[in-house]
């Protein structure tokens, strides 16, 4: 119970996000209107995704420094959870775009950047799937993950800021950005970001425990059949 305070915190924050996000007052803006509430559910997906991928890359670096199989498992589970967040982010964004821009895929630079990072991590799992030797799989996928992450940074953080985007808050669109976020939205937005990040970590840790349990079962069966 002592170590699970952050799980309880995550649940509390997310319940608060759902209730507050749907019921509390939001600023009325042209075009966006009530769909501004997507901020509480769509934007935190990207915070969560980047956070989970960062953790994954961190463990990949740790694996290359001292070869421990444990680090590789952690890196891959966090990448898994990050991928789920990325796909959810794209889907929530598409639902939102369908009502605000008129079509789910609008060729917005941020949208394309998100699709690219999803492709990169899908490739990461394909690479893992095509290597049989666990030691080699860990090493090569760690190298790819670090390299891809380094290549992804300019794509999803710099290019969208250079070109005009239809996203609210950039290029003179009505709406919000990090600096002029309406003060009525802050009390829900920040808890939402933290809550979703914690939930992602939780998902990853549950998956990690499942994998470790499976490994243990395999070991036991191996012992028995020896």
């Amino acid at each position: 119970m002592k170590n699970s305070w952050w799980k309880i915190l995550s649940v509390v924050l997310l319940i608060y996000t759902v209730i507050g996000g749907l019921l509390l007052e939001v600023p009325r803006l042209v075009i966006i209107h009530e769909s501004i509430r997507a901020l509480y559910f769509h934007v935190p997906m990207w915070f969560g995704m980047v956070f989970l991928f960062l953790v994954s890359v961190g463990y990949s670096i740790a694996y290359l420094r001292n070869h421990q199989q444990r680090f590789d498992t952690i890196a891959s589970t966090f990448a898994h959870a990050g991928l789920v967040f990325g796909i959810l982010g794209i889907i929530t964004g598409m639902i939102w775009a369908n009502y605000t821009w008129g079509s789910p895929w609008h060729g917005d630079p941020k949208q394309n950047g998100a699709a690219i990072s999803t492709l990169i991590y899908l490739a990461y799992f394909i690479l893992r799937g095509s290597l049989d030797n666990p030691e080699q799989r860990a090493r090569l996928s760690a190298v790819y993950s670090i390299f891809a992450f380094a290549a992804m940074i300019p794509l999803i953080f710099i290019i969208p800021r250079m070109t005009s985007s239809m996203h609210p808050g950039s290029g003179g669109n009505p709406g919000f950005n990090m600096y002029d976020l309406d003060s009525r939205m802050r009390p829900v937005f920040y808890p939402a970001v933290v809550g979703w990040m914690l939930l992602g970590t939780w998902i990853a840790s549950v998956r990690l425990r499942i994998l470790q349990a499976e490994e243990k079962i395999l070991d036991l069966e191996y012992e028995k059949n020896k």
């Binding site: 490739a123 290597l131 090493r139 190298v143 390299f147 290549a151 300019p154 290019i159």
Partner: protein, 217 residues
């Protein structure tokens, strides 16, 4: 390192058929582009020309660099690793692949100019872009080829791994090429040029840092 570099040139000349097959691949690709699009539209719009050109480059250069590690026999690699440090090997590979990519890119440009017109107004800038993009391709693909060579279906893996990573280089090159065709000032292409240089530096630095972890098997 210089010796390694020469060694690769010499071994390449011994396997002439591979290099020539790539050139033929490129010619066939450009010709297909010409048949499928060039014939109907006498003059292509700048956007379509540059997109077609870089698509052809993408698919050819992936094969060019992919063979750099996948074509190697187990024995040669062990021999090389016993002689030189991994850093030297990857640097010589990057520069060698750079020459190869630049050569193929120029050949591609010549054939494009032959069949699909040559709309480029600002040739020096375009050649600079070709060189920068070749370096980017060679540094990015060299390490990916080393990774893919360890898997059992290397060619597919190579394409899957490299496409998302190369998109940045491709987009920047297409943008500059379009500016070259429109004959815009250099200032208009300054930002994508800087981005291209930045991506190159990033990619080669990470390749150099990460390669030692790959070759160890």
């Amino acid at each position: 390192m210089y010796t390694l570099f020469l060694f690769q040139f010499r071994s390449e000349f011994r396997r002439k058929s591979i290099f020539l097959s790539l050139v033929l691949y490129l010619i066939a690709l450009v010709f297909i582009n010409y048949l499928s699009i060039g014939i109907q539209h006498r003059s292509l719009s700048p956007g379509i020309w540059s997109a077609l050109f870089w698509m052809a480059m993408l698919s050819t250069l992936i094969h060019v660099v992919a063979k750099s590690f996948m074509g190697d026999k187990q024995g040669t690699m062990t021999y090389l690793y016993s002689l030189a440090s991994p850093g030297q090997i990857i640097l010589s590979r990057i520069f060698y692949n750079f020459f190869l990519c630049a050569g193929i890119a120029f050949t591609g440009y010549v054939f494009f100019a032959f069949w699909l017109n040559n709309p480029i107004e600002d040739t020096p800038l375009f050649i600079l872009t070709l060189l920068l993009a070749s370096f980017g391709f060679s540094s990015t693909l060299s390490i990916l080829s080393a990774i893919a060579s360890k898997t059992n279906n290397g060619n597919v893996i190579m394409a899957v791994l490299s496409f998302p990573i190369l998109i940045g280089i491709l987009l920047m090159s297409i943008k500059i090429t379009k500016n070259c065709i429109d004959g815009l000032e250099w200032e208009a292409s300054a930002t994508p040029l800087m981005m291209l240089v930045g991506i190159n530096l990033l990619a080669s630095a990470f390749t150099y840092l990460l390669f030692p972890y790959i070759w160890r098997s």
